[in-house]
Symmetry: C2
DNA sequence: AAGTGGTCTAGACCACCGT
DNA sequence: CGGTGGTCTAGACCACTTC
């Protein structure tokens, strides 16, 4: 059951993409959406809040909700996990499986994943391509006690789609730590760059809704092909 | 006039920092806060939402709001602008003014700032230190028609505090684009690194509440001292 | 079954923008 | 001034966790 505010957000989002508001460059008023979709104004507001965070629109008190024309394409929006699959849905995303195995958590991994030493772990290493260009090297550890099952066929495709749709895993929230570093020789070869070139590195710690860490991963991005986007709102900070 | 939900958020935040909830490791229930602060439950929920985005807590339906113990310190949280001043409030933040002048927007700058060619612009270049260590090189362009006034004394301190508190500028939202790149020789010298070392680069486009761009800036961060943090929530994506 | 967070409503009033 | 977004309330009902 998808909540109403998410449904409304999806409808308005698709209207924006279809250039429905091209003439005025602004959305309808909150009251108009409330009437149109037969929901309360607060529900409309929650829907618009999603679109603000996705960078589609901005709100001006007393005036309206305006569409952001310079809503830059080609960036990986940090608002959503699964950036590549979502942000580049119109481009060709491919994975090359480099390594897939089971192991048990050593002290360091247990610390990072908030589990006991010896916990069974799936290890996945993939090279991701966008439109045929190497995009990032992704090294993931999944807690087998929470993820239950993975195999080669699954990890060659979208792991998260499988976990969410088939395993019905309740994915809750994630920490993402972004830094820059040197590329190792091995990483450089995979990405088609040189050793010691810069790398854009993202460390992810992904939790279930109950707070348990089920995925700890690191993505090493091609510094020329990948830029991340964060839309910040000054409200409440 | 600060809204109630921001006041409540600030109170709970300070309680968390003071380890008030250390025994249970969770917040009070929403109803308890509603009664405690004499506000509605929705106001409490908006307050807690802020704390979720700041990475202090996570919510579990049917169970409660839990404090995140691994709430890692030392990262620049992308949730707020003014990351350095806020996240390192317990550390010594200093600025060295490298350059300050007025200029007029050329075609490229006018494009980036959404203004006309020839618009008067303040240019500020600063080297920022945290605890005496070079932290980032910040190159900023401020639209003089919106910012009205800046001088050397102001830009040596916190520009944003001045704009918000003294100029009463209504800062609304910002795009931040994060990438990695090589350090130039000049940048490397300023940061105490070597030419062609990696750099963590953040391009900011900051808008007033009415959508006008008043600040366009680039921060080149020391890749060993700076890590950015983004807390992602799966709701509504 | 009781407790607690998630969704939703209907309506009030305020703050700000534009005419 | 009317229009529109921002804050806030009181209450209802649902979904999930916990016992």
């Amino acid at each position: 059951m998808v909540p109403k505010y998410q449904q409304v957000a999806a409808q308005i989002e698709s209207d924006i993409i279809d250039h429905v508001y091209q003439e005025t460059n602004k959305l309808l008023t909150e009251d108009e959406y409330a009437k149109k979709y037969q929901v309360s104004r607060n529900t409309v507001r929650k829907a618009i809040e999603i679109l603000v965070n996705k960078g589609y629109v901005y709100q001006v008190q007393g005036s309206g909700v305006f569409i952001r024309t310079h809503h830059n394409k080609g960036y990986v929006n940090l608002e959503k996990l699964q950036g590549v699959t979502n942000d580049f849905s119109d481009r060709r995303v491919e994975n090359k499986l480099l390594e897939f195995k089971q192991l048990t958590a050593d002290e360091n991994l247990a610390e990072n994943m908030g589990c006991k030493v010896g916990t069974p772990i799936y290890f996945v290493k993939r090279l991701r391509y966008v439109d045929g260009n190497p995009f990032s090297i992704e090294t993931s550890y999944f807690n087998k006690e929470l993820v239950i099952y993975l195999d080669e066929n699954i990890v060659k495709k979208s792991i998260y789609n499988y976990l969410r749709n088939d395993q019905k895993l309740a994915i809750g929230f994630a920490d993402r730590i972004i830094s820059a570093d040197f590329l190792s020789k091995e990483q450089a070869e995979l990405l088609g760059l040189k050793e010691n070139d810069p790398a854009l590195v993202v460390d992810n710690t992904v939790c279930l809704t109950n707070g348990a860490i089920f995925d700890y991963s690191q993505s090493v991005h091609h510094f020329q092909h990948v830029k991340l986007l964060k839309v910040s709102n000054m409200k409440g900070s």
